[in-house]
């Protein structure tokens, strides 16, 4: 009885260990809309339309700094600053004329907005002697929105357009620079990840004959 049981267990074990697993194959497929940065002779950034109550740090300086350093490094192409007045909100015909001077180039432009709402709320704060007391304090809700467009200068064609939004609740009004930086870093990080994604992995079953 004991021998039979052992024999049966071994057979079951062998059956499961020998049973064939499905052949799963993985392959990359290009992501539609990935920007071919290497196709262009020159890449420019400029003309971002700004709608923000913040002047320190200066959003325009921060934007051009991001694109000409971090973004440039990530896409491995030199990005130059192109002084344009209003970018996307510039009358399109004027912008088209201006871009004719830069053949086979890519312009990165867009719209950058910050909306700050201030309100008061009751919060636990420490008084001068270190004791916790309830007091009215001002807090802010920050909303940063960045619309980025990649425009082919020759055909004046928008290759890709993305909008990123980040919010910061209960922000301290005294820490404007910190609030700006934390939102700006999150948005630019998302933009980088999306712009650099070129392939997506697909998974399929390869079938065996008779299956």
């Amino acid at each position: 009885m004991k021998t039979k049981l052992i024999f049966l267990s071994v057979m079951i074990f062998l059956f499961f260990s020998c049973s064939q697993k499905p052949l799963i194959i993985k392959f990359p497929v290009p992501v539609q809309g990935a920007i071919p940065f290497n196709k262009f002779d020159k890449i420019f950034i400029g003309g971002f339309h700004l709608d923000t109550p913040i002047t320190d740090p200066d959003p325009e300086t921060e934007l051009s700094h991001f694109f000409t350093t971090d973004f440039q490094q990530a896409v491995k192409r030199k990005i130059e600053y192109l002084p344009l007045e209003k970018g996307l909100t510039d009358p399109m015909t004027t912008l088209r004329e201006k871009l004719k001077n830069y053949p086979n180039s890519l312009l990165i432009t867009g719209k950058f907005t910050i909306d700050i709402k201030t309100r008061s709320m009751v919060k636990d704060v420490k008084n001068k002697s270190g004791k916790k007391i309830k007091a009215f304090v001002k807090i802010q809700l920050w909303e940063m929105k960045m619309k980025v467009a990649f425009i082919e200068t020759d055909a004046f064609n928008i290759l890709k357009e993305d909008t990123f939004t980040e919010k910061l609740k209960d922000a301290d009004p005294q820490k404007g620079k910190f609030n700006f930086k934390s939102l700006f870093d999150s948005i630019t990080d998302r933009l980088l990840q999306k712009s650099l994604k070129k392939f997506k992995i697909q998974e399929r079953y390869l079938l065996k004959n008779g299956k």
Partner: protein, 110 residues
């Protein structure tokens, strides 16, 4: 005597489960595809087809080849041929579903 019979059975079972040489051109092509040698695999799947071995598996694998190469029209045609031959194959159905989702996503991105 009884133990000897059990031992013989075991040996036979193990030998039948042991890795075997490729039974056909088709199995070899699958192995090539797994190793990333897609062009070589494609050639062999096509060869199997031209010999008259028309199976859902060959059409499915050819569909994957086309999908990988970005030739989505041919991929869809091959998936359809495969589904006609074996409509209840769960792995094939799963592949076709994923393929359709992939196409739909591409359309939305455009």
């Amino acid at each position: 005597m009884k133990n000897l019979a059990i031992l013989t059975c075991l040996i036979l079972f193990i030998v039948s489960c042991a890795p075997h040489r490729f039974k056909s051109e088709f199995d070899f092509a699958n192995k090539l595809a797994q190793q990333g040698l897609w062009e070589e695999a494609y050639f062999r799947w096509k060869k199997s087809l031209s010999r008259g071995d028309e199976t859902a598996a060959i059409h499915n694998n050819l569909a994957i080849y086309y999908e990988r190469a970005g030739n989505l029209q041919s991929a869809e045609a091959e998936y359809k041929k495969a589904l006609k031959l074996d409509p209840g194959n769960t792995q094939l159905l799963s592949n076709y579903k994923k393929f359709k989702q992939h196409i739909e996503k591409k359309k939305n991105e455009n």
